[in-house]
Amino acid sequence: MSLKFKNLKVYYSTLRGDVKALDDVSLDLKDGEILGLAGESGCGKSTLSNSLILLKPPMKYIGGSVELDGAELPIYDYKKMNDFRYEKISIIPQYAMNAMNPTVKINRYISDLLAAKGMNYSEYEKELKRRMSLVGLDYSVLKMFPIELSGGMKQRMVMVIATLLNPSLLLADEITSALDVSTQKAVAKMLVEFRDRKFVKSVIFVTHDVSVLYQIADRIMIMYAGKFAELGKTEEIIHNPRHPYTKMLVGAMPEVGIKYSRTPLSGIDGQPPLLLNPPEGCRFRERCPFAFEKCLSEPPVAENDEGHLCSCWKEVK
C-alpha cells in the first residue's frame, strides 16, 4: 500500500462555525495505481488532496490517521511535513505556473527547489533533461521565464518538476480542466506514462470530469458533500455503478453520440447540503429517488462485490 488513510476528517473553520468539508473518509491506495477522485464542487475532493500535502489554516485537522509506505504521515504537523513534501508527496496544482515566481528562470527555480531540500541541481540535471525530452520539451525551456511557455508546455514542465525526485504519491488537482481537448489528452496520457516508467509510484487524479477518468484511471472514488460515496474499478464505476448518486452523475454526462432528440438525459434535482450544519444520515438523501427511512442514519460502507465499496443503505443486505 503506498497511501492509506482512515477516518480522515478535515474541516474549515469560519466565523460561523466549522465547515465539514472532509468528513470521515478512508482509502487504501495500491502501489502503481492511478486513482481518480471525482465529485462536484464542494464535495471535498480538493480538500482531500490539499490536506495530504499542505494542511494550513483555515483548514483544520480533526482526526484520522494517514500512512505513506507503511510509515505515519504527520499531516497535522505543518513543519514535520516539510520532510515529505516534494520528496515523498508532490502536487501538480491547477494553475501551477501562475504560482511560480515570474522573474526567475525555470532552471533557477528548480535549483532553488532542490537546494531547499539540501540537494544539488547538477546531480539531477541529466535526469531532468532526459525526462524533458521524454515529454517533448526542448532544453532551452530551462533558460526561459515561466511567461514564455504556452499552456500545454507549462503543464508538462510542471509535471517533470513535480516528479523529478520520484515521489511516492503524486496529487494532480484538476490539471486538465483548463486545457483544450487535444492538450488535455496529451497531458493525461503523459501522466499514465510517468506512472508506467515508475517516476511516481501512485497518483491521485482529482477532477470533476468523469470521462477523463474513464480514459486513464485504474480505480475511481466518488465523493459527495464531504463523504465517501463509492469506490471501485473504473469499468465498474462507469458501467455498473451502485450508488444512486454515481448512477445519476454518470447518467447526466452527455457524450458524442447522445442527442437530446433521441435520448434526453436528466440531471439531479436540488443542491448538495450546506456543510456548515449538514443533515444527519446520508447526505444525498434529499436528492435521492430511492431514499427511505433508514437513510436518516449514517449509511455504512458495504462491499458486495470484491473491491467495490459503496456507502448506501440500499447495498446493505
Partner: protein
Amino acid sequence: MLNVEGLSKIYRKGSFGKTKFNAVDNATFEIGNGEIISLIGESGSGKTTIGKMILKLSSISSGKIEFDGKDVSLLKGSEVKEYYRHVQGVFQDPFSSFNPIFKADRVFKMVKEEFFKDISASEWNGKLNSSLKKVGLNPNEVFGKFPHQLSGGQLQRLLIARALMLDVKLLVADEIISMLDASTRIDVLNLLAKLRENGLSVLFVTHDLSLGYYISDKSIILYKGVIVEMGKTEKVFQNPVHPYTRSLLEAVPRLDSKWDEIDYKYSHETREDIYIPGTTCGGFLLKEIENGHFAAVKK
C-alpha cells in the same frame, strides 16, 4: 433570420496597434428560425468574439451581420434597443454576470426600466412569473437574494428567464454551462432544447463537443478564427472531413470507448484541397462536400 457574411475581426496589439491579429477570419453562416447551432472551438478560436459581435458588444472589422434583413452595425438609437428586444445573450460566468453588490433579481428591474416602463405592476408580475416558470425557478427561492447566495445553475436560469421577458428570437449562449456542476448542467441544456420547441433560436458557443452534439441541429467547427467545417451535426460528427475536426473527435474523452480505440477510427485520408488555418497559404472558401456539409478548402 440571422445572416453572417464574410465576418472578420482584426485586433491590433502592441503600443499604438503595431501588430495585427485575425481573431475571426471571413466567417459566413446563417441561423434559421427555431434552430440550435453549436459554435465549437478551443480557446483562441474566435468563438466568443463571434458571439460578441452578434450581440454588438464588439465592433466588426469587415463583413456584416444581418438580422431579419437589416444590417446590425447600422442600427442607431432606439433601433439598437429594438434589436436587443429580439437578440439576447447569456454569458459563461454566472457569478460575474451579476453585479455583486446588488440583489440578483435586479436584472429584471433593469429590463423593466429599459423596455417596459409603462407596464402595470400586475401585468409585469404575471410576465415575470411565467418566464420564471419556463426556466423552472421558484420565485421564493431566488428573489431578494444576493448572487453569491444562489447556485451557478440558478443564476444561469435567472439570466435565461431575463432574456425570455423580452420578445427574444435568438439567444447567444456563450459557454453558459461550462462553469456548472455536472448534475445541473444537463438541466440547463435540456431547458434550451425545450425553449427551441417554442421557436427560440440558439447560438450555442462551446468548447465541448459532446455538449454540441447533444443539443444542436447544425455544428460549426472553428479553428484559429476560420470556419473549417460546418453542417448538420450528425454529418460533421460521423463523417468529419477536416483533419482538425478529426483530431478534436479523437481527443474528446468518452465513456463508451478509450482513447486508444478511437485513434484509428478517424484516420481516413484527408482531401488534398483542404485548407488548414496557419499552415496553408492563400485564401480559402467553404465548399459543399455533400448535401448540407461544408468544409474549408483552398481557393
